[in-house]
């Protein structure tokens, strides 16, 4: 019934919890994070996800000094579901 499960990942960065230190960007092995150009509530630029390529390793999460600025989410897609 079910086909192969395909896993992808994405990163969510909460703009107002980021201080723009750049540690997550350095830590990312896939180089899929970058410093944005707009300012957050505190008046600093903040890190943003380029939109694809995250492998869910968590490196950015642990590199970040803020508790909840970064979340890493795993997305599971069933092949059948994709076809439906």
């Amino acid at each position: 019934m079910t086909g192969k499960i395909k896993k992808t990942h994405r990163v969510e960065i909460i703009a107002d919890e980021c201080k723009g230190c750049g540690r997550c960007i350095n830590a990312c092995p896939k180089k899929v994070l970058e410093m944005g150009t707009v300012f957050n509530f505190m008046g600093t630029t903040y890190a943003v996800y380029k939109g694809s390529g995250c492998i869910g390793c968590g490196g950015c999460f642990y590199a970040c000094p803020e508790p909840g600025a970064i979340s890493v989410i795993e997305i599971s897609e069933d092949d059948n579901e994709v076809q439906q």
Binding site: H9, I25, A27, Y62, P65, G68, V72, E74
Partner: protein
């Protein structure tokens, strides 16, 4: 399609940092890129994963992490600078089931708090120390820390730390690992993902040791203070990985976690009655009620007593016995010993004050009502302190010529040391003198009730002073009786 959150804000943190003043309630107060934040996340994750939030106390130091208790959803105490280890000791001793995390900076731990720290490590206190070595005093604006590197420029070492002037950076892990007691000592770095993962394991191991009561664990974190060191994120990690690790190598310095049995300390005593029983002798003999007052006239005012002789004659314990007698009859008493650095052979004296009212100062250096003197040098030194109506009692076996006094004073003597020698124990000279004192009091100063009371009171005071040493008590009571009888004989002869 389904989604699962793989990494996100730990349950070990409060969801909202209510205690943090101002508008920002979701992130912490640290500068961008600060190592404190990285470590906080590892600790929060560990206490949540181990399910120990309800029995964990995190001790916040003085330093940038002074407000760490804003963030962790567990108990928190903020302590004076460097006093983490002392407070941790109290916490873990009072509640052995509690988990205690001493979070300290390099200034807090390795400078002002180093003695507290190393003593707690040496006692193997059951808690974990997370030591943030950022090679700087962060909070106060970048002064040199004990762990600042040679050559490192700080606000207080503007030409760079110079070993000839400021000494060498303190290797806390290496020093701690030399001690017997600590169970686990490791140095890690909060830099690359690989290093942070090692730090994560170290945090968990230390906390696990605490849960298993394995004793003292220390983890040192080489950590970034990019603001004071004036680095961006990459330069900061590079400084730690290349410069700091040269002097502070990473690795495990000691790990006996698997070999150690849980350290079960004696159960503390909280029952006040039991504490009193253990520390103070029980009320003994025919104790009197709290409102009992000796009726004799001499007790109407403060009595100032000095006893002097050479160390080893029992001068100090004679004073204690007299003080105990006063205490047992509801007087306020003070006993102030004074002796040289040597234990025996030098001169010794003690001052005792007995008063129904509060005692101002325990010092007796004038207006002395009773002077008991056991050797010649003490007589020469203290006789002028005697009040015009005071009593002098001296040992005539050591002082041959009686002192010349102006008139109003009463002078008594007994050859106590000779009597003690005949009695078979020189150490009993003081109790023989006490007997002499009792004889004088009975004959000249006490009313009937107090006269009848004194022998029993002496026995009680001796029992109190030599708790549990029945033979010694018995021997001293005999010596007292001997002194009493001899002195009565002397007084009658006059």
């Amino acid at each position: 399609m389904s989604e699962r959150v793989k990494f996100s804000r730990s349950k070990g943190f409060f969801e909202i940092f209510e205690r943090r003043p101002g508008a920002v309630k979701k992130n912490m107060s640290y500068c961008p890129g600060c190592g404190h934040g990285i470590l906080h996340k590892l600790i929060a994750e560990a206490i949540a994963d181990f399910g120990i939030q309800d029995r964990t106390t995190l001790i916040a130091p003085v330093g940038c992490s002074v407000f760490a208790y804003y963030y962790f959803d567990c108990f928190g105490i903020q302590v004076p600078h460097g006093r983490s280890a002392a407070v941790a000791t109290g916490l873990t001793r009072a509640n052995p089931e509690g988990i205690v995390i001493g979070y300290q900076g390099d200034g807090d731990l390795a400078a002002i708090g180093f003695n507290n720290f190393i003593q707690a490590a040496n006692r193997g206190e059951n808690y974990c120390v997370f030591f943030v070595n950022n090679a700087i005093y962060g909070m106060t604006g970048g002064q040199m820390a004990p762990t600042s590197l040679i050559g490192q420029k700080t606000t207080t070492s503007p030409y760079g730390r110079n070993a000839a002037n400021e000494g060498f950076p303190l290797k806390v892990c290496e020093m701690t690992a030399q001690l017997e007691a600590p169970v686990y000592v490791e140095r890690v770095a909060l830099t690359s993902t690989a290093n942070i993962m090692k730090a994560r394991q170290a945090v968990r191991k230390a906390v696990k040791n605490n849960i298993d009561k394995k004793g003292f664990s220390l983890v040192e974190f080489l950590s970034g203070c990019p603001v004071n060191l004036k680095f961006d994120a990459s330069q900061m990690d590079e400084f730690i990985d290349k410069e700091m690790t040269k002097y502070f190598p990473l690795g495990v310095f000691k790990d006996e976690s698997t070999q150690r049995e849980p350290n079960i300390r004696p159960v503390p005593v909280y029952d006040t009655e039991k504490v009193r029983e253990a520390m103070f002798p029980l009320k003994i003999g025919q104790g009197v009620s709290d409102d009992y007052r000796c009726a004799s006239k001499i007790f109407d005012r403060e009595l100032r007593i000095k006893i002097a002789g050479f160390g080893g004659q029992g001068v100090l314990s004679l004073g204690l016995i007299i003080a105990a007698m006063g205490k047992q009859r509801n007087f306020n008493v003070s006993w102030l010993p004074s002796y040289g650095p040597e234990m025996r052979g030098g001169t010794a004296n003690c001052a005792i004050i007995v008063n129904r009212e509060a005692i101002g100062s325990p010092i007796v250096d004038s207006n002395c009502d009773l002077l008991i003197i056991l050797n010649k040098p003490s007589l020469d030194k203290y006789v002028q302190e005697l009040s015009p109506s005071g009593i002098l009692l001296y040992d005539s076996s050591t002082i041959e010529t009686p002192p010349e006094l102006d008139g109003g004073q009463s002078v008594f003597s007994l050859d106590a040391t000779n009597i003690a020698e005949e009695f078979g124990n020189l150490k009993c000279a003081n109790s023989i003198m006490l007997g002499a004192l009792a004889a004088i009091l009975k004959a000249k100063f006490l009313d009937e009730v107090d006269t009848a009371d004194i022998d029993g009171l002496v026995a009680d005071a001796l029992t109190e002073c030599f708790t549990g040493k029945e033979k010694i008590v018995k021997m001293n009571i005999e010596a007292y009786q001997l002194g009493l009888n001899k002195m009565f004989g002397n007084i009658a002869d006059v």
